[in-house]
């Protein structure tokens, strides 16, 4: 197990390296002076000069790459001039809001999607199954941002029962349970948007198809032949095996969830990383933009690593090599 872990950890190094090198190439391919680019458009000449020295931008290209890597490994993702803060600090500040959104949506989607998927599979071939399949296909094909816009139209503008932007009503200065209630009230539409348009249908289809797959296995026939009731066969034998792919998907979907979060945060003015990234993109704050790309990529890679490990613990058939 230790060897397996070590090998998997070693495997993420090339991925991170690839992303860092990609950022590096982008800095040099982009029009204009790389030093200006790394300092940010609003930087003054002194700071640009300092960046040029620190990253050795007057030295040969491989020295530049080495210095760039060294700076990132030290945790120095650069400095954002327009915001007057280190990039890493700015990112960490925005993370909680995004995590709240992403984790709530993920948990809701896995539970809700799987439940409906089970319902669908148990009624395989019926009209109910067909209806569920079609609805999930439509929701799966709906762009996250448009779904959010429609929810805003219906529940925010039309019925006026949910707030349409922000994370809290800061002006009210709520504390304790009142604050929590306010937070849930604000989070409801964004979480529903992120879940229902794409994420939940994905888990629904996955659960349905893997249950149908597992039901054809020999051990199900054996369980039935033993005289077990259909419910015991389904919940004790089939479901537990059928849920393994869901675990994998929950981890690997993180990149997908993050991109949905960018859209959702933009539509609902949710103060997280995604919305922050869009603001940054329009301000051409390149150090911040690249820092965020690196940060999110590492998060996605780390999530897939953790998924692999969780999976190997859950499924005894996986052999550690």
């Amino acid at each position: 197990m230790t060897r397996y872990l070590a090998r998997r950890l070693l495997e993420i190094i090339p991925v991170i390296l690839a992303i860092v090198v990609f950022n590096f190439v982008l800095i040099h391919v982009a029009p204009g002076d790389p030093a200006q680019m790394m300092a940010g458009e609003m930087a003054n000449q002194e700071y640009v000069q300092e960046i040029r020295m620190r990253y050795g931008l007057d030295k040969p290209i491989y020295v530049q790459l080495a210095l760039y890597l060294a700076n990132i490994l030290r945790g120095d993702l650069g400095y954002s001039i327009p915001r007057g803060q280190p990039v890493l600090f700015l990112i960490l500040e925005k993370i909680p809001a995004t995590l709240l959104l992403v984790i709530s949506a993920q948990v809701f989607s896995v539970i809700f999607g799987t439940m409906i998927g089970v319902l669908s599979a148990r009624n395989y071939g019926s009209r109910k199954d067909a209806l569920i399949c079609f609805s999930s296909l439509v929701l799966y094909s709906t762009p996250v941002f448009w779904f959010g816009l429609i929810l805003i139209l219906v529940f925010g503008v039309g019925l006026r029962i949910f707030p349409i932007f922000g994370m809290t009503a800061a002006e009210k200065g709520l504390t304790g349970f009142a604050y929590l209630g306010d937070l849930i009230w604000h989070a409801f539409l964004p979480v529903m948007t992120l879940s229902l348009a794409g994420l939940a249908p994905m888990f629904l289809r996955l659960a349905r198809s893997s249950i149908l797959e597992v039901m054809k296995e020999d051990f199900i026939t054996t369980a039935r032949a033993k005289g077990l009731t259909e419910n015991v066969v389904f919940f004790k034998h089939a479901l537990r095996n059928a849920l393994l792919p869901t675990v994998t998907q929950a981890g690997f979907a993180l990149g997908f969830v993050f991109s949905g979060a960018v859209m959702t945060e933009t539509v609902f003015a949710w103060p997280g990383l995604g919305r922050f990234m869009m603001d940054t993109a329009f301000q051409r704050d390149y150090p911040l933009l690249m820092g965020m790309f690196l940060f999110i990529s590492v998060a996605v890679v780390a999530a897939s690593l953790i998924t692999d490990i969780v999976y190997s613990v859950l499924d005894p058939r996986v052999v550690y090599k």
């Binding site: 991925v15 448009w146 816009l149 429609i150 139209l153 990149g255 993050f258 933009t266 539509v267």
Partner: protein, 281 residues
């Protein structure tokens, strides 16, 4: 033989009602895109006669914040979305099939290296990459198409690789290796025609997701300002969501209809090509 194969494929495909509806809708979408100049009441950017006019007989989908007809925008938008989808899927198909075939056919170190490349590529969160590139280089629909195409090919590569690996050990391929055919000839005449089906299914699905990606980028304000795409229409709709619901509703419905049609056709093809799935019915 090829004709018989296609006929056999259609015999199964046409029994799938959802897939047939998808095909009909998709064909209509292509027709609308082709005939846009003739059926659209106004040009995509043309002044139609008033700001924020609600849906009426004259303007079935209303008009927008710049007095442009929403129906005309939706009609012209089919062109942009379909072209974008086809372009992305095409780029992804070419790169994916070539690299996947090389990895699967030659195996060994080449395969180890390429497979690692596919995996690394798949882990990079594409949307952030695209946002960053668009922010740095500016928005242009063809550049965006190329960038999106360059980020989605690994799935095609992985599928092709797996197909080539299974086909390579089959007797007819082994026989042609023994008979001295060149590698390229074998890949081209024996392996690809027999193994391309899942790649085609994947391409259909990639067109669907490319259309959503383009709409999303335009919605975020990173679209090509010179193209009135559905995403761009929704970008303006968001700004006036309290005054003009019609601006938000219709372009979105167009996206959903087109994407559902692509997904239905994709499912239909995969069903018709996969005997295993058919037996389950």
């Amino acid at each position: 033989m090829v004709l018989a194969k296609i006929r056999g494929f259609f015999n199964v495909y046409e029994k799938n009602r959802g897939a047939m509806v998808g095909l009909a809708v998709l064909s209509s979408c292509f027709a609308v895109a082709l005939l846009a100049p003739f059926i659209s009441p106004y040009g995509p950017f043309e002044w139609a006669g008033g700001l924020f006019l609600p849906p009426s007989a004259r303007y079935p989908f209303g008009t927008d914040n710049m007095g442009r007809d929403v129906l005309s925008g939706v009609i012209w938008g089919f062109r942009i979305s379909l072209l974008f989808g086809l372009g992305v899927a095409g780029i992804s198909l070419v790169i994916g099939v070539i690299l996947g075939a090389i990895a699967g056919y030659f195996g060994g170190l080449v395969d180890d290296f390429l497979s690692r490349v596919f995996e690394i590529y798949m882990m990079i969160p594409a949307i952030f990459l695209i946002i960053m590139i668009t922010a740095i280089f500016g928005a242009d629909i063809f550049r965006t198409m190329i960038v999106v195409g360059l980020t989605v090919w690994p799935s095609n590569a992985k599928i092709t690789r797996a197909q080539v690996l299974t086909l390579k050990s089959r007797a007819f391929v082994q026989a042609s290796i023994g008979s001295g055919m060149s590698h390229l000839q074998i890949i081209y005449t024996h392996i690809l025609p027999n193994g391309i089906q899942p790649v085609i299914v994947n391409s259909t699905l990639q067109m669907a997701s490319a259309i959503i990606t383009e709409a999303g980028l335009s919605f975020l304000g990173l679209g090509d300002p010179n193209q009135r795409s559905w995403g761009q229409m929704l970008y303006y709709a968001q700004l006036s969501v309290k005054t003009a619901w019609w601006m938000a509703v219709f372009p979105g419905i167009a996206i959903v209809v087109l994407v559902v049609a692509f997904n239905l056709v994709g499912e239909g093809i995969s069903f018709a090509m996969n005997p295993k799935l058919q037996r389950r019915r």
